[in-house]
């Protein structure tokens, strides 16, 4: 495949902070998004994904500032999600510097939004985000509000419907694996990539470079969104607490703990490892 597999750091954002949960729960502050973004850009990230994790929950969206700040220093594509509810929201965030928008909650509430958005802004601008959670009977349902409220939309059929509506890309978050570093849900990812012909980005579960190699070799994903693996690595050497006292769960940041269940890896190390194993990624 001539187009390179994309390595996409995902930055969950609450207010002014980068936060990191597990299974999309918990809002532990790890730092300021701008500094992570810059570091990842310099390391060779292919795209950045900003998700306002509390936007739907609080009924707001507030990423304009951080998006504009990032776009000034970072010259790779930026996808922005969280609380995108209307065509106006989309155009504001694009105008602020985003290249693509990711929509989840509002798409489930009103699938027509995907359709009208893709007509107005072009399919390739509209990314449909799916938060998948396993049900007791083994099926997967799509959730909204940062993995909080279930819908009756079964994941694979919803993915197909989103493609029909005009979404240009799907980002699939496997919530049961998210933040745990336990590896990917290869089965579900494969089912989704097999059922659509638009690019699929997988998110949730990256625990090691090997996990990512396995995912790239076993599935047709076009990109992999990674959070914990990169963020916990970054803060090993960049743990700044000065500005944070104003907001957020900063207990972890103020301590010197490192989670034992997350390996750490830099983008550069990951890409070398993938290249050594014949996975086509972009070298800087």
């Amino acid at each position: 495949m001539s187009v390179a597999l994309r390595i996409i750091p995902r930055l969950d954002i609450k207010g002014p902070n980068l936060v990191k949960g597990v299974h999309l729960e918990g809002l532990r502050v790890l730092g300021k998004p701008e500094s992570f973004a810059k570091f990842y850009y310099e390391q060779g990230a292919d795209e950045l994904f900003y998700q306002d994790v509390v936007a739907s929950l609080y009924g707001r969206n507030s990423l304009q500032d951080i998006v504009s700040k990032t776009a000034k220093e970072v010259f790779i594509p930026l996808t922005v999600g969280g609380g995108i509810r209307s065509l106006n929201d989309i155009s504001s965030i694009l105008y602020a510097g985003a290249d693509k928008v990711a929509i989840n909650t509002s798409a489930i509430e009103d699938p027509g939004l995907i359709k009208s958005a893709s007509i107005m802004f072009g399919s390739s601008t509209i990314v449909a985000s799916i938060e998948a959670i396993r049900q007791p009977n083994g099926s997967y349902l799509s959730f909204t509000d940062n993995g909080r409220n279930s819908s009756n939309k079964e994941v694979v059929s919803w993915a197909k419907e989103l493609e029909q509506l005009g979404a240009g890309e799907i980002i699939l978050t496997c919530v049961d694996q998210e933040g745990s570093g336990s590896g990917f849900n290869y089965d579900l990812i494969k089912q989704v990539t097999d059922s659509v012909s638009i690019p699929v980005v997988a998110h949730g579960g990256a625990g090691s470079a090997q996990n990512i190699l396995d995912l790239a070799s076993q599935t047709q994903v076009s990109g992999i969104a990674i959070a914990s693996l990169f963020h916990y690595d970054y803060i090993r050497h960049n743990r700044y607490i000065d500005d944070f006292n104003k907001e957020g769960n900063t207990d972890f940041l103020k301590s010197d703990r490192i989670p034992s269940n997350i390996e750490s890896a830099t983008i550069a190390h990951l890409k070398s490892f993938l290249l050594e194993n014949n996975i086509h990624v972009r070298e800087l």
Partner: protein, 213 residues
């Protein structure tokens, strides 16, 4: 120190203007986001950006009375750059959504990327190469990609691609899913690319620099 060189970023309310401004800023260029004809014509260079669908873009361009301004600027011979949809709009027409006419500056049409097999996803999203048209540019350091080579990566995100009638207009091609498509054109003072230089990291910035220097 800002270079005394002003670039018009043609605004028809359909693109990520901010990123382009930022990129030019970082390179020390002065830029002006505008849809005003005289302002555009007074600049030393111009960029036609674009994100979205072809028919919608043409509607906006007509609404802002920009079609003439664009053609007139091109005719001044000053550097003119089209990006992504801005490349496609220069052509005769596109089949995206409904058949519509473009600006007709470059001869040819815009067609949907054909997916040869299941592995080939549309839209084409991600980092890919842009190989120079060997017939015309072999070993010649010409054009905005003169300092870059076939191994360099640029960021693409599109479902449609241009098919120029004249091979001489083709500056670079890109391979995707077994097909080669035209990823940029170079004709006199016009350079237009399917990929996004403002989103292609350092390589992209180099292209912008070369273009307007």
């Amino acid at each position: 120190m800002k270079k005394p060189y002003k670039i018009a970023i043609i605004d028809y309310q359909m693109s990520n203007i901010f990123s382009i401004t930022n990129a030019l800023d970082a390179l020390g260029f002065e830029s002006k986001v505008t849809s005003d004809r005289s302002e555009i014509l007074s600049c030393d260079g111009a960029i036609l950006p674009g994100v979205g669908s072809f028919p919608e873009a043409m509607k906006h361009i007509k609404n802002f009375n920009l079609d003439d301004s664009i053609k007139d600027f091109i005719n001044t011979g000053k550097p003119f750059m089209g990006i992504c949809l801005g490349l496609q709009l220069l052509f005769d027409g596109s089949e995206e959504i409904e058949n519509s006419c473009g600006l007709g500056v470059i001869s040819g049409n815009v067609k949907r990327i054909s997916a040869k097999n299941k592995n080939m996803r549309v839209p084409h999203v991600g980092w890919n190469h842009a190989s120079k048209n060997k017939l015309l540019y072999n070993e010649k350091n010409i054009g905005p990609l003169c300092s870059l080579n076939d191994k360099d990566y640029f960021y693409f995100v599109h479902s449609y691609c241009v098919e120029p009638d004249n091979d001489t207009d083709i500056y670079t091609t890109t391979e995707y899913g077994g097909n080669e498509f035209c990823s940029s054109i170079l004709k006199e003072n016009i350079f237009a690319c399917q990929f996004h230089p403002e989103k292609s990291g350092e390589n992209g910035l180099r292209i912008l620099n070369e273009m307007f220097n």
